[in-house]
Symmetry: C2
Subunit: 577 residues, 2 copies
């Protein structure tokens, strides 16, 4: 029998039973995350809220949109996914984020910050147009609250003339501690409840947009939450409400409560050994380069530590900016600082860089400014799934004029690229995965736009690959083939843009293979295909296909999509037949 | 001798002389725009402000960032570009937007809305890091003020610990009248100056972010502006200020004052005849389709009329949403409305769609939702230049899984595609230029993913083209070649994604040519190259190269980049030799 009540059975519980349910959820989430990895502290903090929402509202008729969605584990357990919960974030198992495909209780897929209020408004507007009757709730943390999308959504509430509930789940964190004036404002609102008069006076920043502000409440007090949500449910018939609650990130586990940033996401180490994380190399190298170059500044959007820049921020506070979850603003800060002769390094995850596409194109590249983008978690990123795969960056970057794209084969080459970047004029993107697992023996000095041969000349075929993962698989292929006396040349395409035209022109092999950790369309393979378009060459591309890639371990995903030494070797053997 | 004083000579004028200067600027701008086309009303409204900024501040040491930049004409005339002003927006002439390449008075290039405050903050931060001393000013209209970037920038003011001046140039318009709660708030602030107490109470929405709010003043009163800016210049040493002024869009010309939307931008008709604008077809067709389909809703971001949706908005107010200049929010509204079974049409200019790249990918496409994007001004858009060319959309869209991309050959086919879209499940993008100039004789019925042969089979070469412009040039090429007895087949690639694989597989021509009104990287040609990568075919691509395309007439730009029937014919003749 199920440990976690849902629907009617949940609604029949008394407060004491509901509190027990919360404890059971807490245990289950804790034990599963420690086993499978995933988001921990934020889920522990949101348990009471989730139980209260399920208790007061009528899900799935009523719709809850979870911002980012990383706090939805209790929601999954309360909506019929208990049995599958052990498969959390495992290939073929349930996702760590809301998924419409998984359950009708997940009404909107999220993954990137700040979309929930817009989505809730759209769902509510659609309800109104269709003359239906249900409630729509956005659950959003204070970190996401920094994102400009929230302002755009708030600004259109009156215009859309509809009613929603926004639950502002305020834990003072956005992976890194939340920054910015809105956060200070929220803190002001959260001051001792004695200052109600003062609070109400300030609350008008939300009222201004048409919301009725209601706060601040203890978001880990189930009884109070249920009473408040029950009252608000009635009010939603005629008004939109912001419910401001304070929750404790990591609630219930002392270590998490005290280390919310470190326990925000738990990684489970894979079987492969990690020699160095690229983020560490970024931090160490940038610290050293900044010693002798006062132009260097570092910019991040709420992920300073996970990008390796903790030390830099400590050592150079005047030359460090974390703007919170504001990728577009961060990008323009970099481009404008560059107009004044500074040398900005914008560190960001590949998937979140997507938010800045227009600013990269217009602000950085059309002005041809010397901004270096350090793009972490490129390639498949693993267990977070569709919304977090870094497999699009080569494509959306390679089409942008003026931009140079470098892809290091290992952490040592990454270090060289960072050194190279200091003297380089113009926009530069360097993309790399999280883990540095190998150091390659060959290491020739870095030259702009020039590729590197990693093996002796092999007459049978040539493999052009970029990035540690693709090069690793390509060298495995060449090893396998060597045993069958097939001689394959492996080239490190360390600049994806510009291509090394001279080297490409010199290739006389009949069989050309490209390998990359990116989608085919617009990536390295695609660029090579276009280079050879009018030259009557046959090329085989190994890359991710034109589909969204679900969650799974990196090595599993690479195997599934055939980006392995074995597949490459097999292709070449067949081609040579 | 120059009519327009600048630098020291401007500073030596008295108020009466400065007012005369304003009138001269007004005359010059009016006469030039009526000749060359360009932004009219917004420039007329901002003349006094521009003169006051040049008078009070020390440009170019002090930096002024113009949001969007369409109101910079007086600034150009006052910074040594008077002689070149007749070439405004002409190929090789001066740009209609700020351009660093043009003058040191242009400190930051703009074109897309909402970037000015971020850029001003970045410049100010760089000044502080370098220990320099100058003033930084952002000039922004109330329309841009809706954009989320403003909030992200405001939110980080205290964090950056720097001082800037934001001049909020409030004319109640953002091409279309400004919408949303922020606009209502600004209106409240602008109420009769008797309510100063009330105003000051409300002003705290800006104070909250660390700005000192100062307003409301008549932005067309030069004397008052100069006094106020002189005072603020001192205050900028220790604080950041928002100066809220009200200006009259179109100031000085009755017709413009009364028709600010119609005179926002003036187009100069080209020599070619325009049969129908695509926007008109969108509006008419969508109105008709919506009569029998209650699911259809239309969403725009501040450009309802120019996208052809004026009538739709009037006829179906409940099913119409203009969110102001909030492209990302608009995109999520569409995706979330689609989750509830509505059929949203998001109409947008190609260049502004870039802002929603992440939301198209994550919100619409990874959820595989039935949103139709109607992408206007695709291809080179002409006189607005680099920041407005719609030459990237095929590239940044074709890499996105689940998305179908349709490109009509003429307005009739566009109509068919819109009809097709109603019954289509999944994300759909339809891209088209502003002007429909030709109706092609051949017109076969539309089938998902199927291309169309526009000419009889021609054995010598095959041209695969998409969109009215590229197909026009391809047919011109085939006509030219026919006269030399060269038989060329022209294919209408009306779906760029998915490609018509069957038709591509059937092509046995030795010479394959692709033609498109998009950059090569990631566009139709690139997709065809990759389709044939392992098939030993030689393909020649006609497309825009990997560079930013400056302003000029559409036909001039197409000629410059060799996307003409003559060039295509010439290539084929040479290839056949």
């Amino acid at each position: 029998m199920s440990q976690f009540y849902s629907g009617k059975s949940l609604k029949s519980l008394n407060i004491s039973q509901l509190n027990t349910l919360c404890e059971n959820l807490r245990q289950k989430i804790m034990s599963t995350v420690l086993k499978n990895g995933g988001h921990l502290s934020s889920n522990l903090g949101a348990i009471e809220l989730t139980v209260a929402l399920h208790y007061v509202f009528d899900l799935p008729q009523d719709k809850v949109v979870f911002d980012v969605g990383h706090q939805c584990y209790a929601h999954k357990l309360l909506s019929g996914r208990e049995d599958a919960f052990d498969t959390l974030r495992k290939k073929g198992g349930i996702s760590g984020f809301p998924k419409r495909e998984e359950s009708e209780f997940d009404c909107y897929n999220t993954g990137h910050a700040g979309t929930s209020v817009s989505a809730a408004l759209g769902i509510a507007k659609a309800r109104d147009v269709a003359g239906k009757d249900f409630n729509v709730i956005a659950v959003i943390g204070d970190g996401s609250f920094n994102n400009g999308l929230i302002y755009e959504a708030f600004n259109s509430l009156r215009l859309l003339n509809t009613n929603i509930l926004v639950v502002l789940n305020d834990n003072g964190m956005s992976i890194s501690p939340t920054v910015g004036s809105m956060h200070e404002y929220l803190e002001l609102l959260s001051e001792s409840s004695e200052h109600i008069a003062k609070r109400n006076k300030h609350a008008n920043i939300f009222d201004r947009f048409g919301f009725k502000y209601d706060g601040v409440y203890d978001g880990n007090n189930l009884e109070q939450l249920i009473a408040k949500l029950t009252e608000i449910k009635e009010r939603l018939k005629h008004e939109s409400v912001i419910l401001h609650i304070i929750t404790k990130k990591g609630k219930g586990y002392e270590f998490c409560e005290e280390n919310p940033e470190a326990t925000h996401g738990i990684s489970i180490s894979s079987s492969d050994s990690v020699s160095t994380e690229y983020s560490k190399v970024l931090g160490d190298t940038l610290c050293r380069l900044a010693e002798s170059d006062g132009r260097i500044v570092a910019v991040t959007a709420a992920m300073t530590s996970s990008l390796g820049l903790g030390d830099f921020f400590e050592k150079y506070p005047q030359r460090s900016v974390d703007v919170g979850i504001c990728e577009e603003h961060a990008t323009i800060l970099c481009s404008s600082m560059a107009t004044e002769g500074l040398k900005p390094y914008y560190a960001v995850y590949s998937t979140f860089l997507q938010r800045s596409f227009d600013e990269i194109l217009i602000d950085i590249c059309s002005q041809n400014l010397s901004v270096t983008m350090c793009i972490d978690r490129a390639g498949v990123s693993g267990a977070d799934g569709e919304t977090h795969q870094g497999v699009f960056d080569l494509s959306f970057l390679s089409m942008i004029p003026n931009l140079t794209i470098a892809v290091p084969k290992d952490v040592n080459e990454f270090k060289e690229m960072l050194k190279f970047s200091v003297g380089f004029n113009g926009p530069l993107a360097i993309r790399y995965p999280k883990d540095g697992k190998r150091i390659f023996k060959v290491s020739t000095s870095l030259e702009y736009g020039k590729w590197e041969k990693l093996t002796e000349s092999g007459l049978d075929a040539v493999i052009i690959a970029c990035g540690e993962r693709a090069i690793t698989e390509s060298l495995i292929a060449s090893q396998i083939l060597k045993e069958s006396n097939v001689a394959v040349e492996v080239i490190n395409a360390r600049f994806v843009k510009p291509l090394d035209r001279e080297m490409l022109e010199g290739i006389e092999h009949k069989h050309i293979i490209t390998v990359e950790d990116n989608v085919l369309s617009g990536g390295l393979g695609s660029l090579v295909n276009t280079f050879y378009a009018d030259k009557n060459k046959a090329i085989k591309n190994f890359a991710y296909p034109d589909e969204f890639i679900s969650h799974g371990a990196v090595s599993e995903l690479m195997r599934d999509y055939g980006i392995t030494g074995e597949s490459i070797a097999e292709y070449i053997v067949n081609a040579l037949r």
